[in-house]
Amino acid sequence: MLSQQALHEIASVQSQEASSQHALLTALRCMQAERLHVGPQEVEFLAGLLDLSPATVEGVARFYDQITKEPVGRHVLTLCRGISCYLCGADAVAEETEQILDVPAGGTTSDGRLTLRLAECIGDCSHAPAALLDDEFVGPFDPQSLHAMKDL
């Protein structure tokens, strides 16, 4: 279910401490990156891998915003709606983005290409309205730039 590389990364984090649960956060991140979500099957797999109960894995997974129960698109566009970005027009940017992508925030384009998320302050307030495209900061975000990203 996970690539060798991911399994290797998880094992190396696991070896840092005596408790294997220490590696759970990394394991969830790897799973999210490769399987685009952490649903019931993924939970079962990680529980087996780290010798934890599925409930433990599920409970931790649901705590974190970046770990999703439903699959996200191949790319995730995260728009900040924090206070500084709000003061710099984030609401209008989010609306325009929804229109251009034709998905509501939280949704994924019908081709599964991109998920649009709204997030609280993402720590890049000087580039308001701030945004992340996958892991990269792309603020100040101009929704019109999406037209050039069609081939993501």
């Binding site: 984090v13 840092q16 401490e17 005596a18 408790s19 649960q21 220490h22 590696a23 759970l24 956060l25 990394t26 969830l28 991140r29 999210q32 409970g59 931790v60 705590f63 974190y64 915003d65 970046q66 770990i67 999703t68 995260t78 709606r81 924090g82 206070i83 500084s84 709000y86 003061l87 710099c88 925030a105 939280g106 998320r117 709204l118 997030a119 609280e120 302050c121 993402i122 720590g123 890049d124 307030c125 000087s126 580039h127 308001a128 992340l132 892991d135 990269e136 900061f137």
Partner: protein
């Protein structure tokens, strides 16, 4: 002005070891390793350095609480969760001068006798983490970090851990829980992390900026550092200016620098030549200042306190005259409602309620008594929670209502429209981390929930 933290920040490729070394990187560590831990703690105590993560606790003193049993491992955790709205200084330091932070981690680890340190970075900083990892590998390969740092007996393993999107992981015990692979539910103190911290061992949690000061203190001396700033707020502070300003960014100022001067000079003033309305000086968890109140305030712990607010994280959020304060407060309240971890009832329910009442006010569906209701809910949170988030969530509500009251009153219906008491209650809130909705909870429409019988 002396730059303690940003001296090399504009140097191209400062993240590369060779470039950083030319600028004197790891010289502070070299000196620190010549001192015994006790001498090192004394030096940092003499510098007057106080924690830059928000609370301003003296760093040397925090370290002095570590007394491991023989053979017991000690941990240093560097807090790079940085999720306080309006704060992006650690982002800036880690991105532009990772070696300065790594050096600080090594110095602190030596002071407390830690052989292992974790750098916990919020998940949104994944791209920065890759660069920090590269810097760490370079420094380890060069024999500066890792086994036998700089050829001494001191060995230090530094691991980078990424979060996955939860503000509460910045709270020190939430961070510890998260690092242990658990829900980041903060822990009841005592016991304090200095005694029972990460994997139940003695642990120090320090902010990125705090640790980045150490190199300077070791190279230039505690006295040189203490000579900067004011008597009780020594050194410099990174301030993050954002919101309605012409030139948002991270700026380093000496402690005691006038707040509005920083706004004018560093951030080029309020954008579009507008008038300043208000400023939150330390991240959303501290009380807002009106323009008038901000005028005499200096950027240091004592001056902020005298003005009824706090230096906090140094995240300065600027509101211009066009700002709609109830809407802005709603945004802030929604943040806390979303980020409350849900462990304690007053915070979990109260933050949701404050957001919900504000949402209906802003939507034009306010009810008589809503402002009192907000304050009452806030009062029921304060002092009744496990961690500081609960109290923090009340600061903006109370200060906005007090200082911009007419804007909130204008949203209330005339008193005679009030129905009987039972009709005035609607449906309660729901929030994301512990309730059902995910991204919908991040939107501003009123959300239906259970009746508010509890109130």
């Amino acid at each position: 002005m002396t730059n303690v933290l940003t001296r090399h920040i504009e140097q191209r490729d400062q993240a590369r070891l060779a470039v950083a070394l030319r600028g004197g990187a790891y010289e502070g560590l070299r000196r620190a390793l010549k001192l015994s831990p006790a001498e090192l703690i004394a030096e940092v105590t003499a510098s007057g350095l106080r924690g830059r993560g928000g609370a301003g606790f003296p760093t040397g003193r925090k370290w002095s609480f570590i007394h491991p049993q023989p053979g017991q491992p000690v941990y240093l955790l560097c807090n790079a969760d940085e999720s306080e709205p309006g704060t992006f200084k650690d982002h800036y330091l880690l991105k532009h001068d990772p070696h300065l932070v790594l050096e600080g981690i090594a110095i602190a680890a030596h002071a407390i006798g830690a052989a292992k340190a974790y750098l916990y970075m919020r998940g949104e900083y994944a791209s920065i983490a890759r660069d920090v990892q590269a810097a760490l590998q370079e420094a380890s390969a060069a024999g500066i970090l890792g086994d036998h740092c700089l050829g001494t007996d001191f060995s230090l393993q530094i691991e980078i851990q990424l979060g996955a999107g939860a503000y509460i992981c910045g709270e020190e015990t939430g961070l510890i829980q998260s690092l242990e692979g658990k829900r980041a539910y903060p822990r009841v103190r005592p016991p304090f992390p200095a005694v029972h911290g990460f994997v139940d061992q003695p642990t120090v949690v320090n902010n990125v900026e705090t640790l980045a000061n150490l190199s300077y203190i070791l190279v230039e001396g505690a006295q040189a550092f203490a000579a900067l700033g004011t008597d009780r707020s020594t050194g410099t502070k990174l301030i993050c200016i954002s919101g309605a300003v012409a030139r948002p960014g991270v700026y380093e100022v000496e402690m005691g620098y006038p707040l509005l001067e920083a706004l004018r000079r560093e951030a080029a003033g309020v954008r579009l030549g507008r008038r300043l309305k208000a400023i939150i000086p330390g991240g959303t968890s501290v009380p807002v200042l009106t323009a008038e109140e901000a005028a005499p305030v200096m950027i240091d712990y004592e001056s902020m306190q005298a003005a009824g607010t706090m230096l906090g994280s140094g995240g300065m959020i600027v509101f211009d005259e066009t700002a709609d304060m109830p809407k802005a407060l709603l945004r802030i309240a929604e943040f806390y409602a979303h980020e409350s971890c849900g462990e304690c009832t007053p915070c979990r329910e109260g933050t949701g309620w404050m957001a919900w009442v504000l949402r209906r006010l802003v939507a034009g569906e306010g009810r008589p008594g809503d402002l009192e209701l907000l304050l009452r809910v806030g009062g029921n949170i304060e002092g009744r929670t496990i961690c500081g988030l609960g109290d923090a969530s009340v600061q903006p509500v109370r200060s906005f209502l007090q200082k911009f009251r007419p804007e909130f009153e204008a949203l209330l219906p005339p008193a005679r429209d009030a129905g009987p008491e039972w009709q005035r209650h609607g449906h309660g809130p729901r929030t994301a981390r512990h309730g059902a909705p995910g991204d919908e909870a991040l939107r501003s429409e009123p959300v239906d929930g259970p009746p508010d019988a509890a109130l």
